[in-house]
């Protein structure tokens, strides 16, 4: 339960978590048109009921939409693999969704290196999902480096949560 609560808090914190625009961290979609088909602009997708296994809410909360990494690492942890196995299962069950995997880094690094590091993390997730059977064309990656921390303190407790890859669903996209 605490996980679900935490997830909700995260959602509330981000505010825009429901938005599936790849540049959802931008200040808006107006300037962000483009990207992959159907994912540009602002498209609103209901989170749905977390009790509905086919809902995004269910994916985010029950399956788990993110995995964390050790410092400087892009290697998946055992826990991470477990979460991703669940994601893969869900994605194969719900073929109507595509996903964009966001890679992030903590602030302990230079801007450009962290962009590359975030991409490497996102790719690790992408590769794992593909290895589990998810069609490659349904997945894209993006890195935000250290530009979009989840937690803002400058301590390891926050850094640990910021070194993450988040799988963001987009309804109707992909194919």
């Amino acid at each position: 339960m605490s996980f679900a609560v935490k997830s909700l808090l995260l959602v509330a914190t981000l505010g825009l978590a429901a938005c599936n625009n790849p540049d959802r961290y931008g200040a808006g979609g107006a300037g962000g048109a483009g990207g992959i088909g159907g994912a540009g602009g602002i498209d609103t997708t209901g989170l749905g009921d977390p009790n509905n296994p086919a809902s995004i809410a269910y994916f985010n909360q029950r399956v788990g939409d993110r995995v964390l990494f050790a410092v400087d690492q892009s290697t998946l942890t055992p826990e991470g693999r477990q979460v991703l196995a669940g994601q893969a299962q869900w994605l194969m069950t719900n073929a109507g969704y595509a996903a964009i995997i966001e890679g992030h880094a903590d602030e302990q690094g230079t801007r450009e290196y962290n962009l590359a590091l975030g991409e490497r993390r996102a790719a690790a997730v992408q590769n794992f999902l593909i290895s589990q059977g998810v069609t490659a064309s349904r997945l894209r990656t993006i890195s935000y480096g250290k530009e979009r921390p989840l937690e803002v303190c400058s301590e390891e407790a926050c850094y640990a949560k910021n070194r993450r890859a988040v799988t963001v669903l987009a309804a109707g996209a992909g194919v």
């Binding site: 230079t110 450009e112 290196y113 962009l115 992408q126 989840l150």
Partner: protein
């Protein structure tokens, strides 16, 4: 490097020397014997006291005269190399630009250089003239008596040009005051930072915004001529290198390959090529794009992260960052690509290498023991010197004369904010650049034409 004296004397000096020798053979005092030789190996290093006489209003100048002399003084003092003697300590007043300078009065207050000037304005045209005097020699510094004319709108630039000439005549190296800096203006909370591109004078004045903050923008860089800017933008939804014309603000993405992201762009010295990082499938390598032909070539090919490329001023080499050994370190490779040779050797992580415009040094960001530093090293990695230390310092950029570095300093915690700082490569004169709000990722332009 420093071999026998005579062997490397430049022509001019050799000539002077020849004259000196010729004289010595004539002068009876000198005859053929060398005078006693005394080695002076210990001097002082402190700001040179100079005097800047208030510029004279030669007609219609109004506040411009005072403002221009103020900017000249601010430029020179801002280098940390000079100390302006307060005007109320001046013994003699300069009342006419062309009247004889009472050098004794300036010697008396220990002013080693005196700058005099005059300003006149007619309509929107402004004329600024000045002289820099070597007080103890009782002469005008050679080449330091000039006049600039332009529109009143550009009065600050004229002041900067005056200061650039004075600076270069005294120090023997180029100035950097008449230059601009492109940077990222920031606002909003740490986890939702809004960013937009802006340019300003090197001292923080005349800020202008180049984009809105609808999309994240990162790490802008000036072209060698200062008319274009490269940066990384999320405008398309994904990080893409974007090229902007500073005049028209027209912009375009340089690369549209789906499934990739591009970042860390930098121009070649001739402005014809852009080197950058391209990430695909979890691997980041360095590529070069020929701007005129559109030809793309891959310069590194390793499973590790290769990023932050920067050309040597002669265009023959590229310094970059790679984590092939497990931690980010600095390497140098030929401009045509290759594995590169590692040059960073100390403990810690090294990143964002930038080649000095003089070619002799490479500035970098170093992370070690929980602190960040801006430092410089020779191009072979020797003589590493750390110039700063803080919670987070990163991304140095060189002043056009290769003497000063500007960089981003960010404070820690939830309320952490970024600001711009500069430091002399001797490690002195660390100071914050005034900006309206938080700012990051500065990139210095060349000296303006």
């Amino acid at each position: 490097m420093r071999s026998v004296f005579r062997a490397i004397l430049p022509v001019g000096v050799t000539l002077a020397l020849a004259v000196g020798l010729a004289l010595s053979t004539v002068a009876p005092v000198l005859a053929q014997n060398a005078p006693p030789r005394i080695v002076i190996g210990s001097g002082v290093i402190e700001p040179m006291p100079i005097a800047i006489a208030g510029f004279i209003d030669e007609g219609g100048a109004g506040d411009y005269a005072r403002e221009i002399s103020r900017v000249v003084q601010s430029d020179l003092e801002g280098t940390g190399l000079f100390r302006a003697i307060p005007e109320d300590a001046h013994i003699s007043r300069v009342t006419s630009f062309d009247s004889t300078v009472a050098y004794e009065d300036w010697k008396a207050i220990n002013a080693q250089v005196l700058v005099t000037g005059a300003v006149s304005v007619s309509g929107d045209r402004i004329t600024v003239k000045f002289r820099a005097h070597d007080v103890f020699n009782g002469t005008t510094l050679e080449g330091a008596a000039l006049q600039f004319a332009g529109t009143t709108q550009g009065w600050r630039r004229m002041a900067h040009k005056v200061a650039d000439v004075v600076y270069s005549k005294i120090t023997g190296e180029g100035g950097y005051f008449d230059s601009r800096v492109v940077f990222v203006s920031e606002s909003g909370p740490k986890n939702e930072r809004l960013k937009r591109l802006a340019v300003m004078d090197y001292d923080g004045a005349n800020v202008q915004y180049l984009t809105d903050s609808a999309s994240i923008v990162l790490a802008p860089r000036f072209s060698p001529t200062g008319d274009r800017i490269l940066y990384t933008s999320y405008e398309s939804g994904f990080p893409r290198i974007t090229l902007m014309d500073v005049g028209s603000l027209d912009r375009r993405s340089l690369d549209e390959q789906p499934g990739t992201m591009t970042f860390a762009p930098r121009f070649s010295p001739d402005g014809g090529t852009v080197v950058f990082s391209l990430a695909r499938g979890g691997n980041t390598d360095i590529y070069a794009l020929n701007l005129s032909s559109g030809g793309l070539s891959q310069l590194t090919n390793a499973p590790s992260i290769e990023t932050a490329p920067s050309f040597s001023p002669d265009g023959s080499q590229i310094v970059f960052e790679s984590d092939r050994t497990g931690t980010p370190q600095i390497y140098v490779m030929p401009a045509s690509g290759g594995e590169g040779q590692r040059i960073s050797g100390g403990q810690g992580r090294y990143g964002t290498p930038v080649w000095s415009p003089r070619g002799d040094l490479i500035a970098f960001t170093k992370q070690n023991a929980g602190r960040f530093h801006i430092g410089v090293m020779r191009t072979d990695g020797s003589e590493e010197r750390l110039l700063t230390a803080s919670f987070l310092d990163e991304g140095p950029t060189w002043a056009p004369n290769g003497r000063v570095l500007m960089f981003t300093r960010e404070t820690s915690g939830a309320g952490g904010q970024a600001s711009l700082w500069s430091v002399d490569i001797t490690g002195r004169n660390l100071k914050q650049i005034p900006t309206e709000g938080p700012a990051s990722d500065p990139a210095w332009s060349p000296l303006l034409p």
